[in-house]
C-alpha cells in the first residue's frame, strides 16, 4: 500500500456506505485530492454497513427521509445492486390497519406510488409461509427491495479512484483531529498526519468519538438491533440468489422477517433498548466477530422467537430449521430519530454525515456533497441539520434517555404530535409555576415546556359549543383538546396572554451588523431604528432557509427573534456570515430573555392600564418596537402578530418575567384576559391568517414566489439567494401555495374526521397531483379555523389548478374528503384586510 499523503483537500473518515458515498459524490462534483481512511480493512471495515439487513422500504412519514431514501434507491439501481422484492407490512391490530392507511397516505404525498392494502388471504398468496389467521391485513409496497451495500460502497470508492480524485487507505486509525482558530486543519493518524482543508466524519457509531477529538459534538448513541438467521429452510431450498420472496414487517411486534438465500432472517426492534457508548466498541483486532457485531443475548429475544413463530409457524416452528447466526448488531440512534448532517457548529470545515442507515446512505452522501461543494443540497435537509441541536441535546443524559424511550417506536405508531416523556422540564420559563397552576398542558420545544392549552379554560368549551369543532375520532383527538379552539374564540373576543419563552434570540452588533443581516434577509434591513422586519431567509437556490423577525434596536444593533426549534440552525446561519475582521459579532441571548405575547381586541386596554406610554395605533405603529415601562419593568415591546389580532410581543430579561406576567394578568382581569396556549399561536391563529411556517410551508424546495410572499419591489442590496430569487420572480411559478377548506368531513362510517397535515391532495378522480417540477401536492399544514367554522388545509398546487373555488379531494387514513380552494396566495381567509391587527 502506498504511503499516506501529507496533504489533502478533503479527508473522509470512514469507508462504510456513507464514507464511500461521500468520496464518490465529492469526486463527481469536481473535488480532487480526496483521501479516504478507515481503521478497518476493506471492503468491510467492520462498521454497521457490514451487518446491515440491507432491505429498503421506501416509505416514511417524514418527507425528508422519503426523499433521501428515494434518491438512494435510484443510485443503488444505477449501480446494479438493487433487487426489487416487494414488501408487506402486516397488521395484527385495528389500530395498525389505520396506521398502514396513514403510511400509504404519506407515501402518496411524497410521490411513492403503488402501495395498497391487502386482505390476510392476499398476503398469504404473496407469502405462503405465514399464518394469515393472526393478521388483519397488510400494506403491500411492490417497490421494496434489497441492496448490496458493501458492493455499492466498493463501486463508489473505485469510481472516485478512477476519476483520479480519491485515494483510499485501510487500517489507518485516527488519533486526533487538529483545529486552529475554529477551523479544521489536519487529521492525525497512526500512520502520519494529513493536513486537510475539509474533514468529513462518516464513521457511524464511532462519530461522537471522532467529533470530540475536534471539540465538536455528534449526539448519537450506538444501540443494539438484534437479528437471528435460521435455516436452511426446506421451503426455500430451490430459491436462487439472495432474495426472491417479499420482505415482511410484522409491525405490531416491531419485527421483520426476510428470506436470505435458503435462510430466514428475523430482526427486531422490540427488545429492551441496549445502548452503548463509542468507547464500548472493540477494535477490529479484539472483536470476536466484527466490532459492531456484539454477542447475541438470547434472553432479550425470547418473546421475539414466539412472535416470529406465530407469524411463520411452518418455518420458524420447524425443529429441523436451526439458528445459523445471531448477533446484537450496533446501529446509530439519535435523540430525535433524524440523521446528523452538515458542518459542525463548533468547527468550520468539519462535516458530519452520521446516523445514516443503508436506505439513506447514497442519497445522503449526494446531498451532503452538494451542500459542501455547491453550498446547498437539492433535497431539503433541515430536519437532519447538525446545527439543530441545543446545548442540552448534546448531553449524554438527553441522548440516552430519548433513545431509550424511542427505540421501541422504530416500528411504532407515532402520532405527529406525540411528546417525549423522558428528560423533560429541562428549560422552564419564568411563568412555569403560574401556568402549571392554571392547568397548562405542556408540550416541549427545544427543551422548553410550553403550555399547549390550559385546563382552566375548559368552561369556555361549553360557552362556545359546536364552534369549538369537537372531534369524535380518537386519532385526531389525541394530543389535542377542544379547549384550544375555545381559547382561540375567546382571544378573538377579549384577549389572550401567550408564553413565547421558547423563542431563540441573538443580537448582532458592530459596524458590519447591518451588512450581515442585509446579506441574510430577503427584506430591506436598512430601516429606521425601532422597526421590526419579518423576513424570509433564503438559501443560495432561492428556497427558504428560515423565516424570522429582526428588530433594529440601534444603528449597529439588530436583534433576531426566531422559533426555538430551528433557532440554533439560524444562529449558525448568521454566525457564518460574520466578517473575519470582527467588525460584527453575534451573541446568543436565548437563555437571558423571555417573551410574552398579548393579543386580542382588548390588548391595548390591558397594556395601557399598566404603562404610561401612549400605546395608541397612531403612537405605537404596527411593525415597530420600543422600550416601555410596565409597572417598573423595562420592557421591549414589539407590535407584531402571528395570530391575527391587535397586540404586542413583550421582551424582558428572565428575572423580570414574573413581574411582567403579574402586571398584565392583574390588568387583564377587567378585560376578559385568558391564558392562551401554543395550540392557538402555532396552528389556529396562524392558519386563519394563512401565515406560513418554516418547515411545513417554507423549505428549500419552494420559492418565495410560490409561497406568495414576494414584495412588489426588491431591495437593491445583495443577499443570499438573490440571483435565484430574481429568476423566480421573472418566470411564471409552476405552483402556488393555496389555502383550502374541507367541504365535508363525514367518513364512510358517519364520523367527522379532521386532517392533521401531510395528506395528499388528489383530483376529483382520486389521482395524485404533480406540478411541472415533479412535486406532489400535499397538505403542508392543517388545523381548525374556529372563527370561520372551517378546517383549513394549506397546499402547493400547480398554478393552472390554483384557482379559488377549484375542488379537490384530500385523502385521510384511506378515505377521501372533498375540499376546495378558499384563497390562492398569502391573503388571509380571516380578516383579509387586517383590520383587527391594525386596530
Amino acid at each position: 500500500m502506498s504511503k499516506l499523503p501529507a496533504k489533502a483537500k478533503c479527508v473522509v473518515i470512514g469507508a462504510g456506505i456513507v464514507g464511500n458515498g461521500m468520496v464518490y459524490h465529492l469526486a463527481k462534483l469536481g473535488w480532487k485530492d480526496i483521501v479516504q481512511i478507515d481503521k478497518g480493512p476493506l471492503p468491510n471495515p467492520g462498521g454497521s454497513t457490514g451487518h446491515a439487513s440491507n432491505f429498503i422500504f421506501p416509505v416514511d412519514h417524514s418527507k425528508e427521509m422519503t426523499a433521501i431514501t428515494a434518491e438512494s434507491m435510484r443510485q443503488y439501481k444505477e449501480f446494479g445492486t438493487f433487487t426489487e422484492t416487494g414488501g408487506i407490512e402486516v397488521a395484527r391490530t385495528e389500530e395498525r390497519m389505520q396506521e398502514l392507511a396513514r403510511r400509504i397516505t404519506s407515501a402518496k404525498s411524497w410521490g411513492i406510488d403503488g402501495g395498497r392494502i391487502l386482505t390476510p388471504a392476499e398476503v398469504k398468496q404473496l407469502v405462503p409461509y405465514i399464518d394469515e389467521s393472526i393478521i388483519l391485513g397488510g400494506y403491500y409496497q411492490p417497490t421494496v427491495g434489497v441492496v448490496d451495500s458493501l458492493r455499492t460502497g466498493t463501486i463508489m470508492r473505485e469510481k472516485a479512484q478512477e476519476m483520479g480524485a480519491a485515494q483510499s487507505f485501510a487500517n489507518v486509525e485516527v488519533q486526533d483531529i487538529k483545529v486552529e482558530n475554529g477551523v479544521v486543519k489536519a487529521v492525525v493518524t497512526d500512520q502520519g498526519t494529513i493536513e486537510a482543508e475539509y474533514v468529513v466524519i462518516a464513521t457511524g457509531c464511532w462519530s461522537p468519538k471522532l467529533a470530540a477529538m475536534a471539540g465538536a459534538h455528534i449526539p448519537l448513541t450506538p444501540a443494539v438491533h438484534q437479528m437471528k438467521d435460521i435455516g436452511p429452510v426446506p421451503f426455500f431450498k430451490d430459491t436462487k440468489g439472495d432474495i426472491e420472496w417479499p420482505i415482511i414487517r410484522d409491525m405490531d411486534v416491531f419485527m421483520y422477517e426476510r428470506q436470505h438465500g435458503t435462510g430466514l432472517e428475523i430482526g427486531s426492534y422490540a427488545h429492551r433498548p441496549i445502548l452503548y457508548t463509542p468507547d464500548d466498541i472493540p477494535s477490529n483486532a479484539t472483536a470476536a466477530l466484527s466490532p459492531t457485531e456484539f454477542a447475541f443475548t438470547q434472553a432479550d429475544f425470547d418473546i421475539q422467537d414466539e412472535h416470529a413463530y406465530e407469524l411463520m409457524p411452518s418455518i420458524v416452528g420447524d425443529e429441523s430449521v436451526r439458528e445459523k447466526y445471531a448477533c446484537n448488531g450496533i446501529l446509530s440512534y439519535t435523540p430525535d430519530g433524524m440523521p446528523i448532517l452538515g458542518e459542525t457548529p463548533e468547527v468550520k470545515n468539519l462535516w458530519s454525515v452520521a446516523a445514516v442507515w443503508i436506505k439513506e446512505g447514497p442519497g445522503t452522501a449526494k446531498s451532503v456533497a452538494e451542500w459542501m461543494v455547491l453550498g446547498d443540497s437539492h433535497i431539503d435537509l433541515h430536519a437532519s441539520n447538525i446545527a439543530r441541536f441545543h446545548e442540552h441535546h448534546k448531553e449524554e443524559k438527553h441522548i440516552k434517555s430519548r433513545v431509550t424511550e424511542s427505540f421501541n417506536k422504530t416500528y411504532g405508531i407515532v402520532h405527529p404530535l406525540e411528546q417525549y416523556e423522558s428528560n423533560r422540564k429541562v428549560r422552564l420559563s419564568p411563568y412555569y409555576e403560574r401556568e402549571a397552576a392554571l392547568g397548562a398542558v405542556f408540550y416541549e420545544t427545544a427543551g422548553w415546556e410550553r403550555p399547549f392549552w390550559y385546563e382552566s379554560n375548559k368552561d369556555l368549551v361549553a360557552k362556545f359549543g359546536d364552534k369549538v369543532m369537537p372531534r369524535a375520532a380518537e386519532w385526531e383527538s389525541r394530543w389535542w383538546s377542544p379547549i384550544i379552539n375555545a381559547e382561540h374564540l375567546q382571544m378573538r373576543e377579549t384577549a389572550g396572554i401567550v408564553d413565547l419563552t421558547a423563542f431563540a434570540y441573538f443580537d448582532i452588533t458592530g459596524p458590519s451588523a447591518l451588512a450581515v443581516v442585509q446579506k441574510a434577509a430577503l427584506r430591506q434591513m436598512d430601516v429606521a431604528i425601532g422597526r421590526v422586519v419579518y423576513t424570509p431567509v433564503l438559501g443560495p437556490n432561492g428556497g427558504f432557509k428560515s423565516d424570522l423577525t429582526i428588530m433594529r434596536l440601534d444603528t449597529d444593533h439588530f436583534r433576531v427573534v426566531t422559533g426555538g426549534a430551528h433557532g440554533m440552525a439560524d444562529k449558525k446561519w448568521f454566525a457564518d456570515l460574520l466578517p473575519a475582521d470582527g467588525s460584527a459579532k453575534i451573541k446568543d441571548i436565548t437563555s437571558d430573555y423571555t417573551t410574552l405575547g398579548l393579543w386580542g381586541p382588548n390588548a391595548r386596554k390591558i397594556v395601557q392600564e399598566v404603562t404610561s406610554e401612549d400605546m395608541s395605533h397612531e403612537s405605537f405603529k404596527f411593525s415597530t418596537c420600543r422600550e416601555i415601562d410596565i409597572k417598573g419593568v423595562k420592557v421591549l415591546a414589539s407590535r407584531i402578530s402571528y395570530v391575527g389580532d391587535l397586540g404586542w410581543e413583550f421582551y424582558v430579561p428572565m428575572a423580570d418575567g414574573p413581574a411582567l406576567w403579574d402586571a398584565l394578568w392583574e390588568a387583564g382581569k377587567n378585560h376578559g384576559l385568558i391564558p392562551v396556549g401554543i395550540g392557538v399561536y402555532g396552528t389556529t391563529g396562524r392558519l386563519e391568517k394563512c401565515y406560513r411556517a418554516y418547515g411545513p410551508e417554507l423549505e428549500t424546495e419552494y420559492t418565495v414566489v410560490e409561497a406568495g410572499m414576494q414584495t412588489p419591489k426588491l431591495k437593491e442590496q445583495d443577499f443570499i439567494g438573490k440571483e435565484a430569487h430574481l429568476k423566480h420572480r421573472a418566470e411564471k411559478p409552476v405552483a402556488m401555495l393555496c389555502t383550502l377548506f374541507v367541504d365535508d368531513h363525514t367518513s364512510s362510517t358517519g364520523v367527522k374526521r379532521y386532517m392533521m397535515g401531510n395528506e395528499p391532495i388528489l383530483t376529483l378522480d382520486k389521482k395524485p397531483i404533480t406540478d411541472a417540477h415533479g412535486r406532489r401536492s400535499y397538505v403542508t399544514s392543517a388545523g381548525s379555523a374556529p372563527s370561520l367554522g372551517k378546517h383549513i388545509l394549506m397546499s402547493y398546487l400547480p398554478t393552472e389548478l390554483a384557482v379559488a373555488g377549484n375542488k379537490f379531494l384530500v385523502e385521510y387514513l384511506g378515505e377521501h374528503y372533498p375540499c376546495s380552494i378558499a384563497e390562492v396566495g398569502a391573503t388571509s381567509v380571516f380578516d383579509p384586510s387586517n383590520e383587527r391587527i391594525l386596530a
Partner: protein
C-alpha cells in the same frame, strides 16, 4: 438411560485477547459467552443417546448466575433439565470445582448411567475436573473419546493416539470425556429455544471452599499475525484462489 453432561461458561474469543488491568482475568467486556467446544460435542452425544434410548439428559455447571444463559442454550438443543451451582463469579480451582460437582451429583435423586465431559475447558484447559470427579465417584473414565456408542449397558469408545486407535469397552455407570470429531453439534431451533424457557434449572448456592490453588496472573502467548492475505481483485484473482483451494484440499 440417564445422562449427565458437565459444562463450563467460557468467553467466546474470536480476536486478540486482552487481559484485565490486574492481569488475572480475560477482559470480557466485548465478548460473548458460550461453552467449551468439546462440551458441545458432549451435549450433542447426550441428546443423540436420549433420542435413541429415551430417559433423561441433565446438564450441570458451576459458575456465575449468568451461566443460566449457557444452560438454556443447551436445553434448547434437547437436554431435559439443568443444575446451576452458583458461585460469586470468581474462577474456582480444579479441586474445588470437582468437589462441588461431586456433591451436586451425589445430591441428585437420579443415579446417572453416564457422565460426559468435554476433554478440556476452552479457557483454563486444566484437563483435571473429569478425572477428579471420576476418582471421587469411584467410576471408570475414558478420556479424549472420538467415537462412542452404548451397547447393552456398555460404553464402546475409541480414541485416537499417536500410534493409531485405542478401543475401550466399559460397563456403565462410567464417565467419558469427548472431543471434536465425535459428532457435529447441532444449533438450537426456535421451537427448541421456546421449550428451553420452560425447562427446569435448579439453582444451588455453592458452598464456599478454601482454594488450594491461587491464580497469580495470566500472560498472553505471543499471537500470530492475522493471516488474511488479499489475493487480488476481480477475475485476475481467480488463479491464485484456485491454487489456495487446491492446497487446502477443497477439490
Amino acid at each position: 438411560m440417564d445422562i449427565l453432561v458437565c459444562l463450563k461458561r467460557v468467553p467466546l474469543a474470536g480476536g486478540t485477547l486482552i487481559l484485565t488491568p490486574d492481569s488475572r482475568d480475560i477482559e470480557t467486556k466485548h465478548l460473548g459467552f458460550g461453552i467449551s467446544p468439546h462440551e458441545e460435542n458432549a451435549v450433542e452425544a447426550g441428546v443423540q443417546l436420549v433420542e435413541q434410548m429415551g430417559e433423561t439428559l441433565t446438564l450441570l455447571t458451576l459458575g456465575p448466575s449468568d451461566a443460566e444463559e449457557q444452560l438454556r442454550s443447551q436445553l434448547a438443543i434437547g437436554a431435559t433439565r439443568a443444575v446451576l451451582i452458583e458461585t460469586d463469579g470468581q474462577e474456582w480451582d480444579p479441586q474445588g470445582t470437582a468437589a462441588a460437582l461431586v456433591d451436586a451429583i451425589n445430591a441428585e435423586e437420579t443415579k446417572f448411567d453416564l457422565i460426559i465431559f468435554g476433554a478440556e475447558s476452552a479457557d483454563s484447559a486444566g484437563y483435571q475436573i473429569h478425572i477428579r470427579v471420576a476418582h471421587a465417584l469411584n467410576r471408570p473414565i475414558i478420556t479424549n473419546v472420538k467415537s462412542m456408542k452404548i451397547e447393552n449397558g456398555v460404553a464402546v469408545c475409541d480414541r485416537v493416539v499417536a500410534a493409531g486407535r485405542e478401543h475401550y469397552e466399559v460397563a456403565l455407570p462410567a464417565i467419558v470425556t469427548v472431543r471434536d470429531g465425535l459428532n457435529i453439534p447441532r444449533y438450537p431451533s426456535v421451537p427448541g429455544r421456546m421449550q428451553a424457557r420452560k425447562k427446569p434449572v435448579d439453582m444451588k448456592k455453592a458452598e464456599p471452599r478454601v482454594p488450594k490453588l491461587e491464580k497469580v496472573n495470566l500472560a498472553l502467548a505471543p499471537s500470530k499475525a492475522k493471516g488474511a492475505e488479499v489475493l487480488g481483485n476481480g477475475p485476475e484473482a481467480v488463479p491464485a484462489l484456485v491454487e489456495v483451494l487446491k492446497k487446502i484440499g477443497a477439490f
